[in-house]
Each structure stands twice: as structure tokens, then as C-alpha cells.
């Protein structure tokens, strides 16, 4: 084995890729603050629940038992039963899958869409930029719930349409952010170098600009998730999102509303679940903002 070989191979197994080191540092920073630690724990719990839902649920979330309706919480039914005798705990667990898939689908639609429009507008500038930014202006002149309401009304109420409607309203802020980022290094030397080498605009945007925008876009997506969850639950509550018998948390509250006075557990537990998850995302987003603020990071 030659000298150079040993030099290069010795430290290699220990060194993580740069991206992972950054991710680990951010994670460590987050875990130091109790509030963002709470956020991390709740999200971890949500993912665990969703992945192992059939194992954790004590009953089938869809099976009705009309001899056993509106039972208060007990050992047999942790969170009680609903008006059709279904186990509320199991429905909440099954609902975590719906919540998680809403988050996932909205993210994979909104991220690329916002990134695409934002980088294109920022890179080309001029007329393209003006037109694209006008479009985002129009979308941004609505509160997200109202615009989603209008879209769902047009598309018809269902869970999938709610996801589409939320995605349609959630991409403009991302596009704005990606555009602002792109503008800051549009004139950078390495972009000019790529241009001189004959790289096409599409290639420059894809290879040199998109990776630079990615971190801030990801943070912004996390911050938006609380709003996404609340909007989805609100749509479900109004009967415009997930339809019964799907155990979506907002829809569960809507059906439980009729029995609320005598059976408090029907609305209380799904509401707490929504509150916990959206609070978790807000706390996490808050922590992330601190973690990526260089002034805060050095505080030690």
C-alpha cells in the first residue's frame, strides 16, 4: 500500500458528507431547545404512528358496533367510541396516515412547482419575471383557506381535491422565496463560468441554481406545514375535504359536533391531535429559523 493511498483512505470512513454534517448540527441545535425538541418528538411520534398504524390500532377503524355507541373512554376503548361504535383511538391512529400523506403530497407538489417558477423568474428576469410575479401576486391576495374553498367548490369536495386546492394556494410564497434567492447569485462568477462553457439555461438553473435555493425552500416548507394541516382540517370540518367514513381528524370533529354536549370525547381527541401536530410544526419551524440564523448559532 502506497503512502498516498493510506493518507486518503484512513480518515475516509469517519468523514460524513458535508450535507449530513450540517443536518446533524441543525438537529443537535434543535434538541437543545425544549420547545423544538417537543416538535421533533411529536413529529417522530406521528411518523411512527402512521407507519405502524395497523399494529398500534386496537380496533378496526372502520368497523361499526351499534351496540356499543358513544361509550366514554375506558380500558377497552382508550378514547371512547363514536356514534357508530367505532373506536376513536384507532380512528385517530388511522387518521395520522391521512395527515402525513397530505403533508407529503403537498410538499412534493409545492416544492418543485415553487422552485421551478421562482428560479425561472429570477434567472431570466425582465418580462418573464414580471408575468410570473404578477401571477403569484394574484394568488397571494387571498387568505389560503378562502382560495382553497373556492378551488374545492370548483373541483368538488374530496380529500384529493382538497390536497390539490391546498397545493395550488401554497406554491406562490415558495416561488417568491426561490426568486429572491436566485436574484442574489444570478450575477455570481460561477454562473458566468458555466455560461461561458456553453451550458444551456435549463442546465444552469437545474445544476447550479436549484441546489442553492433548496435549503431555504425546505425550511419555508416546514414553516408552511402548520398552515397546511389547519387548512386541510378546516376543509374537512366544513365537509369539503375528506369525506366520511375516512378518519380524517377535521371531518371527525365535524361529525362529532352533533353529540358534543353529552359525549365530549368525540371532538376533544381529534382536536388535540390537530393542535399537537400543527404546534409541533410551528415550534420546529421557529427553532429552524433560529438554527439557521448565524447570529444565534454562535451563541453556544
Amino acid at each position: 500500500m502506497s503512502m498516498t493511498d493510506r493518507l486518503s483512505s484512513a480518515p475516509a470512513p469517519r468523514r460524513l458528507p458535508h450535507g449530513l454534517i450540517v443536518a446533524r448540527n441543525i438537529l443537535l441545535f434543535l434538541m437543545r431547545a425544549p420547545t423544538s425538541l417537543f416538535g421533533l418528538i411529536v413529529l417522530g411520534l406521528l411518523i411512527t404512528l402512521a407507519v405502524f398504524a395497523p399494529l398500534i390500532a386496537t380496533h378496526d377503524p372502520y368497523v361499526q358496533n351499534l351496540q356499543n355507541t358513544l361509550q366514554p373512554p375506558s380500558a377497552a376503548h382508550l378514547f371512547g367510541t363514536d356514534e357508530l361504535g367505532r373506536d376513536i383511538f384507532s380512528r385517530l391512529v388511522a387518521g395520522s396516515r391521512i395527515t402525513l400523506s397530505i403533508i407529503f403530497l403537498v410538499t412534493i407538489v409545492v416544492g418543485p412547482l415553487g422552485l421551478f417558477f421562482g428560479t425561472v423568474a429570477g434567472y431570466y428576469g425582465g418580462k418573464v419575471d414580471t408575468v410570473l410575479m404578477r401571477i403569484t401576486d394574484i394568488f397571494l391576495s387571498f387568505p389560503s383557506l378562502i382560495l382553497s374553498l373556492a378551488f374545492v367548490a370548483a373541483l368538488g369536495p374530496s380529500l384529493n381535491n382538497a390536497i390539490i386546492a391546498i397545493s395550488l394556494t401554497a406554491w406562490p410564497p415558495i416561488a417568491r422565496l426561490a426568486r429572491a434567492e436566485t436574484m442574489t447569485f444570478r450575477q455570481a462568477d460561477y454562473i458566468a463560468a458555466a455560461k461561458l462553457q456553453g451550458a444551456s439555461s435549463a442546465r444552469i438553473i437545474w445544476r447550479s441554481i436549484v441546489p442553492m435555493c433548496l435549503p431555504s425552500v425546505l425550511i419555508r416548507l416546514t414553516l408552511n406545514m402548520a398552515t397546511v394541516i389547519l387548512t386541510a382540517a378546516g376543509l374537512g370540518f366544513l365537509g369539503l375535504g375528506a369525506q366520511p367514513p375516512l378518519p380524517e381528524w377535521g371531518a371527525m370533529i365535524a361529525t362529532g359536533r352533533r353529540y358534543m354536549i353529552d359525549s365530549w370525547w368525540l371532538v376533544t381527541f381529534p382536536g388535540l391531535a390537530i393542535l399537537c401536530v400543527s404546534l409541533a410544526f410551528n415550534l420546529l419551524g421557529d427553532g429552524l429559523r433560529d438554527a439557521l440564523d448565524p447570529k444565534q448559532m454562535n451563541r453556544g
Partner: protein
């Protein structure tokens, strides 16, 4: 001279961009209205109308014309303030909205007073005690308000404060008993009942508005707190604050008179934007509290597919938001000497 010219050019440019945004808004509502799954003709003529009647109405509504012509007709109608009639109530949509809007404005105004009253001092306290326990506590408290599903909190609050404790009135704007007792002049119930000298009704109305308004206010205080905190932090770190302290001013005087005085303009714009955002919460809270306002009008028409009503509501929300953005821009220009 040259400066004022440049200012006019800036205003003109902004005017053009507002017009473009408005135009885009109209395209959006038009498209949403056209792809709605309900058949507007069927909704108007009913299920058992003859084919002839159906086709007559179809032509009357201009649905046989090409899309771009339909859009022009839509534009012409909007320009003459003709928003069509609501299928459900049979009245012009604008008349309907004028009737329900005061209830929402009353609720939102009450809420923003609570929200700003809660959020501003909390923001100042959080900023002056940055990273101490007060800051942490306020952060969690305000994020909580931002994270709660307001329709759920509304239900729980009704259960606790109305059904169990009996501290406040239940749903609706006043007790059933008083409905129709006060002549409707402005449709602002608190004003109407005071004008009529009906203090029982006034008290009942106050009892009913306090709970939904507090919840809405709490949810909007999160945003106000956060912004106040960051504005204050910007001020506190500046040298004039140190100077004022060195000159012997007390901490409290420095903060409230000097630093707070400098963030007033920014605060007003923030509160204006939060006021508009309350419309969103109003949609949900009005459903829970059976509040006969704009939000309930919008959602109930959505569910039955009353196209004219929904499109007009969406348009109005958009216009309100554009208006608030312009307002906050103007406030900045007027009050902040640096932008001149």
C-alpha cells in the same frame, strides 16, 4: 421638482400593477365559476323544467357563447356592479352581502381590538426580556394561538364557558328571545341596539360576541406578538436607546416612549393586515357559532353550489386584501420619512 415627478411615476406604476392584479383576480373567479360542477341553469329552473325553458335560460345566461365572449360579459357585469342574483335567496348577491357583512365586521373589529391589545404588550415584553423565561412563555402561548384549529377551540369554549359555566351567551348574535326586537338600521347589532335604547339586547349581544371575538383575537395575536417583538428588538439594539438610558431616563420610559414610539407606523400596517386575515378565521368560527355573517354566507352557498354568490364572495375577499395591502403601503409612505 424632479423628486415629486419621480414620486408620481412610482404611484402611477403602482396603480398599473394594482389594475393588473385586479384583472387577474377577475380571470381567477371567472375560471372557478365556469368549472364548478353544478349546472347553473338546472339550479335556476329546477329539476322538472321543460327542455324549452332550460334552453331559454341557457341562452339568457350567455352559456352558448364562446368563453372569451362570456368573460367579456362577466367583465361588463362587474363594471356595472351587477353581480347576479343568488339562486338560494333570489335576491341580488350584492344586497345579500351588504346585509351579512356588518355582522362579520362587528366580530372582526371586536377581535382585532382584543388581538392587538393582547399581542402588542406581549411582543414588547418578549423583546425586552429576550431569551428569558418571559420570552419563552410568550412564544409558546402565542404559537399555541397560531396552531389551534379555531373551529375546534370554538366548540370546546362553547362547551366549557356556555354549557358548563354559563358565563357567556351561546351561538348566534343574541338570545332567540330578542330577535326582531331591534329595528335594523346599520345591521351592526351593538350600534342598533344602543340607538334604540334597548340595553337588554345590547347586553345580550355583548354576551354573545365576547367568546368568538376572544378566540379570533387570540389567534391573530400570535402574528402581532411576533412582529412587535422583532420590531422592538431592532429598536432596542440601536444607539439612541443607550443614549436615552445614559441620560438618566428610566428603562420603562425609554422602552415605551422612545422605542415603542418608533414602531407605531409598522404596527399599524401589521394590525391592518391581521384584520384582513381575520376573514379566514371568521369563515370557520361563524360556522361553529351560527354567526349570520359573511363567512357563513360563503360556506353555506359553497355547499349548495350557488355560483354567483361564491364568486362574488371570493372576489370581495380578494379586493379587501388588495385594498389592505395598498393601505399599508400608503401608511408607510405617509408616515415613514425615509420612503419619501
Amino acid at each position: 421638482m424632479r423628486q415629486s415627478k419621480r414620486r408620481y411615476a412610482g404611484v402611477a406604476e403602482q396603480g398599473v400593477s394594482i389594475l393588473i392584479t385586479l384583472f387577474g383576480l377577475l380571470i381567477l373567479t371567472f375560471v372557478i365559476g365556469r368549472i364548478m360542477p353544478t349546472d347553473p341553469v338546472r339550479a335556476m329552473v329546477g329539476e322538472d323544467a321543460t327542455r324549452e325553458v332550460y334552453e331559454n335560460v341557457y341562452r339568457q345566461l350567455g352559456l352558448d357563447k364562446p368563453m372569451w365572449q362570456q368573460f367579456l360579459i362577466y367583465l361588463r357585469d362587474i363594471a356595472t356592479f351587477d353581480f347576479g342574483t343568488s339562486i338560494r335567496t333570489g335576491k341580488p348577491v350584492l344586497e345579500d352581502i351588504a346585509r351579512v357583512l356588518p355582522a362579520t365586521i362587528e366580530l372582526a373589529t371586536f377581535a382585532i381590538i382584543i388581538g392587538a391589545g393582547l399581542g402588542t404588550p406581549m411582543g414588547v415584553i418578549a423583546a425586552t426580556n429576550k431569551d428569558k423565561w418571559q420570552d419563552q412563555l410568550i412564544r409558546v402561548f402565542s404559537l399555541m394561538g397560531h396552531s389551534m384549529p379555531i373551529f375546534w377551540t370554538g366548540m370546546i369554549a362553547l362547551l366549557v364557558f356556555y354549557a358548563n359555566l354559563g358565563w357567556v351567551g351561546g351561538s348566534g348574535r343574541m338570545s332567540q328571545f330578542y330577535i326582531g326586537l331591534v329595528p335594523e338600521r346599520t345591521n351592526f347589532l351593538l350600534i342598533d341596539s344602543a340607538l334604540a335604547g334597548q340595553w337588554d339586547v345590547f347586553r345580550s349581544a355583548l354576551n354573545h360576541i365576547i367568546l368568538p371575538a376572544s378566540l379570533l383575537g387570540y389567534s391573530s395575536s400570535a402574528y402581532i406578538t411576533r412582529m412587535t417583538r422583532s420590531f422592538m428588538l431592532d429598536q432596542i439594539n440601536q444607539e439612541y436607546v443607550t443614549t436615552a438610558r445614559v441620560k438618566g431616563l428610566s428603562r420603562r420610559q425609554t422602552i415605551w416612549r422612545h422605542a415603542f414610539g418608533n414602531i407605531r407606523v409598522q404596527l399599524v400596517t401589521i394590525v391592518a393586515l391581521a384584520y384582513g386575515a381575520l376573514l379566514e378565521g371568521a369563515v370557520l368560527i361563524e360556522t361553529v357559532f351560527a354567526w349570520p355573517g359573511f363567512g357563513q354566507y360563503l360556506t353555506s352557498n359553497l355547499l349548495i353550489g350557488d355560483m354567483n354568490a361564491v364568486m362574488t364572495c371570493v372576489l370581495i375577499v380578494g379586493v379587501i386584501f388588495i385594498g389592505l395591502n395598498i393601505l399599508s403601503d400608503i401608511l408607510y409612505r405617509v408616515f415613514d420619512p425615509r420612503t419619501r
